[in-house]
Symmetry: C2
Subunit: 344 residues, 2 copies
Amino acid sequence: MGLNIRKQQVLEAIVESHIITAEPVSSRSVARKYRLGVSPATIRNEMSDLEELGLIEQPHTSAGRIPSQPGYRYYVDRLMKKRFLTPREEKIVHAIFARKAKALANIIQCTINTVTQLTDYLVMLSGPQLENAALRKIKALPLTPKKALVVIMTETGWVESKMVDLPSGMTEADLAHIEDVLNTYFRGLTFPQISRTILHSVYDELIKQRLVLDRIMEIVEAVLQENTDTAVYLGGVHNILKQPEYSDIVKVRNLMSFIEEDAILRAILNKTGPEEVTVRIGREINYDPAAGYSVVSAVYSIRGNAVGTIGLLGPMRMDYARAVAVIEYITDILSEVLSKDAFF
Amino acid sequence: MGLNIRKQQVLEAIVESHIITAEPVSSRSVARKYRLGVSPATIRNEMSDLEELGLIEQPHTSAGRIPSQPGYRYYVDRLMKKRFLTPREEKIVHAIFARKAKALANIIQCTINTVTQLTDYLVMLSGPQLENAALRKIKALPLTPKKALVVIMTETGWVESKMVDLPSGMTEADLAHIEDVLNTYFRGLTFPQISRTILHSVYDELIKQRLVLDRIMEIVEAVLQENTDTAVYLGGVHNILKQPEYSDIVKVRNLMSFIEEDAILRAILNKTGPEEVTVRIGREINYDPAAGYSVVSAVYSIRGNAVGTIGLLGPMRMDYARAVAVIEYITDILSEVLSKDAFF
DNA sequence: GATTAGCACTCTTATCAAATGAGTGCTAAG
DNA sequence: CTTAGCACTCATTTGATAAGAGTGCTAATC
C-alpha cells in the first residue's frame, strides 16, 4: 500500500487523535490540530480515499472517522515513532528492581505493580516455565523415616522441592542409589526430552525400587506440569476500566469473563513471537471474544532462554508506541534481574 | 427488638423478595406472594412501623421498601432458615476434592473454582498461614559447594525451602552444627515466639558462623514474611458483575479498585470471627468503600489449627442463607482435605 | 488538475413536556 | 384492628423538536 505522504499524515493524525480522545476524528480537527496546510475539504478527500482502502471507517454517516484494524496495523508497522520511557520513569523502575534479591513470587508481583503504574492497560504475566530448561540435578533428601524431600534444579537456576512418601523398609542407601541413577539419566535433558524410552531404561535399572520411583516420577511430572500450566498473573484490571470504551457494562462483562480463564490468557500470551515486541491488533489475536482488543507482549528470558511472557491488553485504540516502550523496557530489566539472581 | 409475628413475616418477605429481584418491594406484592391473609393496606401499616424501627427504608416516596442494614442483620440473626447444598451439589463438590492429593496451589485454585460455580459472588481465599504453626524442624542441606537449601517444616505439615549462599570456607560440618543449634532453640516455637531474646542466645552460641547464620535467619524471616503477607486469591469477578446493581459502571470501578488491593482484602478476611461462619453486612465490614457490600466468611483449619480464611463478597442484598451454606460446607471439606494431606 | 468555499443532507444527542404507572399515606367505613 | 378507596408523589417512558457535528458534492478558484 503505497500511500502518498499526505495520506500517511492524515492516517497518522486520525490514529493518534483517536488514541487520545477515543472519539471519531473529523476532517476539521485534523486540519486544525495537525497543520498540514490544507483545508478540511482536502482532508475529506484524502479520508474518502483512505476509507476506500479500508484503513479507516465511519461509525455512521455524520460522524468522523476512526481507524480500522488494518489502519492500526499500518500505523504500527510504518508510521509509529519509537518512544522511550522518560529518564524519571526509568529511574523509578530501576529503583523498584534494584532492591536485594527477592523470592520469585515477589519479583512477579513487583513487575506487575510497576507496569500497572506505567500504563492504563491490563497487565498479564506468565511465570517462568521450566519447559525449556535442562535439568541440572535431582536430589532426594531423607527428612523423616517415612518422608523425603525431592529437590529438582534446572540449568536456569530454578529450584523446586516436593515431599514424597517413602515405602516402609526403604533405606537411605536405596534413596541415594535412586538419586544417582536419576542424575545419570536425566542430567542435561529438558523435561520434554525425558521421553518414554528413557523412562523405561530407568525403570529397568531401578526395578527393585519401583514404588518410590513411581512417586518420584510423579513429582517430576507434577513439577513439570505445574510449570507448563503455570498461572497467568494479572494486574491493572481497574486500570482498563478507566478507558472510556468500558463505560458500557456489557463490554466489561465480556472482558471479565475471558480474563478469568487462565487457559485463554495463556493461549494468548503463548502466541507471542520471538521478535523484540509482538503487537497483535483485534482479530489478529485470533480469539473471537478478544476481537475488540489489542495485545502488546514480549518474552523475557534467563540468560538467553525464554522463560515467560509479559503482555498488555487494551482496547484496539491503545497507545501502541507507549505500550511497546514499556514492554520493551520491562522485559529487558526483568531478564537482567532474573539472570543475575539465578542460583548458581 | 420484639417484633410481633406478622411484622417478622413482613420483614422476611421484604428481605427475601428483594434478594431475588433487587427491586424495592411493594405492599401489594408482599400480600400477594407471601399470603399472610391480610390486605396490602395492612401490610402498609406494618411497613410503616418497620420503617420507623429502621429495619426497612424507602428509596423515594412512591417506591416500595428495601431492607436497611439493620434489617438484613435482623433477618440473618433471627429470621433466616438454615439451608444446605442439594445432594447433587454436595456430590459435585466431593468429586472435585476427591482426586488424589494435589499441590497446594492446585487445591486453592480448585476451591476457588468450585465456589465460583456454586454462587454468584466474589470468592476470596487467603492461603494457609504459618503464623500460628509451631516449627518442627529446620534442615540446611548442602547442594553445591557454595549453595545450601534451607528447609523449614512446621507442625501443621507445611514445608518451605529456599536457597542460601554459603560463605567460602564453610564446611558441611559447620552447616550441620548450625542446623543442630537452630533445631534445639526453635523447635516447638511459633514464628512470633522466636523473639529477639532467643535470637540473641543463638547468635552467642554460633558467633563463629555469623555470616551463614545471618543468611539463614533472613530466610526464616522471609518465609515467615511471605506467609503472613500471603496473597489473597480471587475468583468469580465476572460473577459479581451479573448482579443487577453492577450495571452502574461507577460501582464496578469502585469495587475493582479495592479488590485489587491485596492488603485491603487481607484486612477484610482477617476480621473473620472464630464462629462457624461470620456474616458482616455493609458498614459492619468497617471499611468505607465496602459499605455497600456484605461479606460471608469462615476460617478453615488443619487439624484444628486455623490456617486461612475463605469468604464471599456480594451486594448487601446477597442470598445470605445460600452463602452461609456454601461457605460452611466448603470450609469443612477444605479443612478435611488439608488435614488428611498434611505431610507427617 | 488540485484545492477550497459553500451548502444541502444525514444522523446523533440533548431537551422538554406530557403521559404513564407504580406505590404510598390517609381517611372513613366495616 | 382491618380494609377499600382515593388523592398525591415521584420515577420512568415516550415522542417531538431543536441543535450540532460532520460529511459529500458541486462549482468556483488558484
